[in-house]
């Protein structure tokens, strides 16, 4: 009897330790540093002020940009889901010739994004882009700046954001009980009915998670509107980033950022309500694996093939052009006139054969790997805890984990520096500012909300009864996790890891404030090179860096997914 009591005590102690550990982590790294900053916004010189709100309300430009951000987010929630669903169905659900090849093209957005992606599309559709030049030959009266504004931004971002679908839906599809499809078929259901009534509803939790991420990314759109939006379609995030770097205007950045953050959390809240209504539990005994569906109607089949390959081209041409242009000089890149003489290896040689050039790569790879791994592990633990039941504390934790979405990364970095530049009890008297750990902490923090949402989506795919079975055999939570849960969610978790890794690899905004002088990360080096005052080939260097980053990302992806294939 005694040892049972002891065991109980141990369990309780562990539980207590876990809870207090979580509370401490949340408070020390998410709430305390950030709340300070938010307070400062509204309490200047000890007095409550809404000057920031007034200043921003007065600005037509800011209001318009804010509105555009919401419009964009709303539009993308629809368009990205449509396109994303299409490419996933083409590559993993329907029998399409060459679907594996197509999928590689569709997955290209996993390895590049942001400015580079937008430039890629401009190489195709911009005023001196390939397509534009072709069209101009046919319609000389055409406006070369036709690819601009709301439509263009939506187009580019729609293609850019489908990576969520590639990651989540493809693997979630594999978790469908194939016999339900067979059942529907035997009742005479058409492919379309099966898709809409049987398959997609099962994926609804995944759709909710993806949609939140789309809305969030749409609200936070930066590069595409800046480069393609033109005068009439600017969004709010560039302004936030810009103002967060200015001492005098930081309060406005905070306010704007809070608006976006609250909108995001509101979306989350709404979707949680809807989600709970659509919540379902698997009832299949042992799932049988999905078999690719043939399309019976030849016309539809041809149409599907044609659109699949057209979309494939839209995906890959920008990336090809980026690779091509990375071998040309800055003049060619800026003007789009490729001549034989444009080509040069100098961009690569100057970057790759610099004596110290490998160190930033190493630094960033180490930081990104560590951070992606740690945030993944931390969030997995927390996400499992959050899903293990319902309680007030859990909701608090859930929403507290969202705080990094409330502030731009510059301000998060500032909050961290200011908080941990003195010895604080909260950190057991350690000073973080100026240490190499600081950047790691920062990386982990900014990746928390994203990782949590993605991980939650992944956990939907685990059948609860399997955990019960393992428990009944005496398996401890961690063992269950390792042996039962993780194998099911592994593809998702690895994908999240890679996405985080890739994003952190080239991070600039946070890195520049937090990095240790001796360990300069890649993003900072890239930006420095790109902002060279005297080297007019700086533009080319950006492309070269991007190509190298794509290469690293591709390698990390294929490492991760290559292993994957053998397991499943």
């Amino acid at each position: 009897m005694k040892h049972i009591m002891a065991k109980m005590k141990k369990v309780n102690a562990m539980h207590f330790l876990f809870l207090s550990g979580t509370t401490w982590l949340l408070f020390a790294f998410l709430i305390f540093p950030n709340i300070n900053l938010i307070f400062e916004t509204f309490f200047q010189d000890g007095r409550f002020t809404i000057s920031a709100i007034e200043r921003f309300m007065k600005s037509g430009r800011a209001m318009r940009s804010l509105k555009n951000s919401f419009i964009l987010a709303g539009t993308l929630a629809i368009t990205v889901n449509l396109l994303g669903t299409f490419i996933v169905l083409v590559s993993d659900y329907f029998k399409i010739k060459g679907s594996r090849f197509l999928k590689i093209g569709y997955s290209s957005t996993l390895v590049y994004g942001g400015i580079v992606l937008a430039s890629g599309y401009l190489f195709v559709y911009g005023s001196s882009g390939v397509i534009t030049n072709m069209l101009m030959k046919i319609f000389p009266a055409m406006n070369p700046h036709w690819f601009e504004g709301y439509g263009a931004v939506t187009f580019v971002m729609t293609f850019a954001l489908t990576s969520f679908h590639i990651i989540f839906l493809s693997d979630a599809l594999k978790n469908i009980d194939y016999q339900t499809i067979e059942a529907a078929k035997s009742m005479g259901a058409s492919s379309w009915t099966i898709l809409t009534k049987v398959v997609l509803p099962v994926l609804s939790p995944n759709y909710f998670a993806i949609t939140i991420l789309i809305v969030l990314t749409g609200l936070g759109a930066t590069s595409a509107p800046l480069m393609i939006g033109g005068e009439h379609f600017q969004t709010i995030n560039p302004m936030i980033i810009r103002f967060s770097k200015s001492i005098a205007s930081r309060d406005i950045a905070t306010v704007l950022s809070l608006i976006l953050g609250i909108a995001t959390i509101f979306t989350l809240f709404i979707s949680k309500i809807i989600e709970s209504r659509y919540h379902y539990m698997s009832v299949s005994k042992v799932k049988t694996t999905l078999i690719k569906q043939e399309i019976k109607n030849p016309a539809v089949n041809i149409l599907l093939h044609v659109s699949a390959y057209t979309i494939f081209l839209i995906y890959v041409i920008p990336i090809l052009l980026i690779i091509i242009y990375s071998f040309t000089d800055g003049y060619t890149i800026a003007t789009g006139n490729i001549r034989i003489s444009s080509f040069t290896l100098q961009n690569y040689t100057s970057l790759l054969f610099q004596p110290s050039s490998y160190k930033p790569y190493l630094t960033s790879i180490v930081y990104a790997t560590l951070a992606a791994f740690m945030v993944g592990a931390l969030i997995l633990t927390l996400a499992r805890y959050l899903r293990s039941g319902k309680s007030f504390y859990r909701s608090v934790v859930d929403y507290a984990l969202m705080t990094p979405w409330l502030l731009p990364s510059t301000l998060i970095a500032m909050g961290l520096i200011v908080t941990y530049d003195t010895k604080r009890m909260l950190l057991f008297g350690k000073v973080l500012t100026g240490t190499p750990v600081m950047l790691l902490v920062g990386y982990i923090i900014i990746k928390i909300p994203f990782t949590l949402r993605m991980t939650n989506a992944a956990l939907y795919n685990v059948d609860h009864s399997l955990e019960e079975a393992a428990k009944s055999m005496g398996a401890r939570p961690f063992y269950i996790f390792r042996k039962i849960v993780f194998p099911v969610i592994r593809p998702f978790i690895l994908a999240i890891f890679v996405l985080n890794f890739n994003a952190l690899l080239a991070d600039y905004d946070l890195s520049v404030l937090l990095y240790h002088p001796l360990y300069e990360p890649l993003g900072v080096v890239m930006k420095n090179n790109a902002e060279s005052q005297i080297n007019p080939n700086a533009q080319a260097l950006v492309l070269v860096y991007s190509v190298i980053l794509m290469l690293i990302s591709t390698i990390s992806l294929s490492l991760v997914y290559g292993k994957q294939k053998k397991v499943l």
Partner: protein, 332 residues
């Protein structure tokens, strides 16, 4: 009419069904019977169109259907693992096929209620999610979902395995009624020999991918063609060597007798047909309506069925006489 002509079915390298030749008549209640893993489900799935035979032809009403898509075969199916739609409630699961046929809403409701009543699901349960049902309730939803469509051919894969005897009896009657009333050809998979014998017009017994015997229940039971079938259908005694000698049966043959062909009470009509044997009662197994008695005969065990035991007032350890029906001995 359904014809399997020289059909072979494979999962990768594994041959699940070999050289299957089988004809199922229109309107027949046809049962596939066999031990677990023998290929019953596989046969059913090939008929419905979920797996393609690697060899041979499947014909429905004389038309080759090997390449005919599932949705055009119009076969209702109850899956062994139910395959219910997890995102729909019970009502919608059952109504799914009807909605596909664009039936009116009121008609659908009426049809669903009707069938739900037949499978003993009430209104409250119709509104639950399928994950909120008990195992047997889920199975009944699967049955209802297939029956409500009144298909020409009905394929049922162990549809009653999770239901109690009363409900099973009730649903068996319902299945028979449907089959008779609408001339539905029913292909029924079951692991339950008794059920197969009661309900079927004809039975096909499978073993390890091979078809062992096809026939009416009585043929299968009383005229088992192979040793496997003999053993598989109902309980049976393997005659011990001594007894074989006594009965002048070739010692090299395997000789069997069914439990119910051994009698405790002396037979009246034709005593010469019965062989009397002095044995010791060693065990009584209780089955409710009947008991299984085990006797010892010169070191070997023999068993028989006895209906209720109050009238047979012998106790364990008693020396009793049993009577073996010589005509009922099967040899292989």
């Amino acid at each position: 009419m359904i014809t399997f002509d020289n059909v072979e079915i494979r999962y990768g390298d594994f041959v699940a069904i070999q050289n299957l030749n089988l004809i199922i008549n229109e309107g027949e209640f046809f049962t596939l019977l066999g031990p677990s893993g023998c290929g019953k489900t596989t046969t059913l799935r090939s008929l419905v169109g979920f797996i393609k035979p690697s060899q041979g032809t499947i014909l429905i009403e004389g038309v080759r259907v090997n390449d005919k898509p599932v949705e055009e075969r119009e076969i209702g199916i109850v899956f062994q693992s139910y395959a219910l739609f997890p995102t729909m409630n019970v009502f919608d699961n059952i109504a799914f096929g009807l909605q596909l046929q664009k039936k009116s809403k009121t008609l659908i409701e009426q049809m669903v209620w009707e069938i739900a009543e037949k499978v003993d699901l009430n209104n409250e349960q119709l509104n639950k999610r399928v994950s909120e049902l008990s195992g047997g309730q889920q199975q009944r939803v699967a049955i209802a979902r297939a029956l409500v469509m009144k298909p020409k051919i009905l394929a049922l894969d162990e549809p009653l395995s999770n239901l109690d005897a009363n409900l099973r009896g009730q649903l068996r009657m319902e299945l028979k009624r449907l089959q008779r009333e609408f001339g539905i050809t029913t292909i029924y998979v079951t692991h339950d020999q008794e059920e197969a014998l009661t309900i079927s017009d004809r039975i096909a017994v499978f073993n390890k991918g091979y078809l062992e015997q096809v026939g009416t229940p009585k043929e299968i039971y009383n005229e088992s063609k192979t040793e496997f079938v003999t053993n598989f259908i109902g309980d049976i005694n393997l005659l011990p060597g001594n007894l074989k000698k006594e009965l002048e049966i070739d010692i090299k043959l395997q000789a069997y007798i069914r439990l119910e062909k051994i009698y405790l009470e002396p037979p009246h009509p034709s005593p010469e047909r019965y062989h009397k044997l002095g044995v010791v009662l060693v065990e009584k197994e209780y089955y409710g309506n009947l008991s299984k008695y085990t006797y010892q005969y010169q070191g070997d065990l023999m068993r028989s069925y006895v209906i209720d035991n109050e009238r047979n007032d012998c106790a364990i350890g008693d020396h009793v006489d049993i009577y073996i029906d010589k005509n009922a001995i099967l040899t292989f």
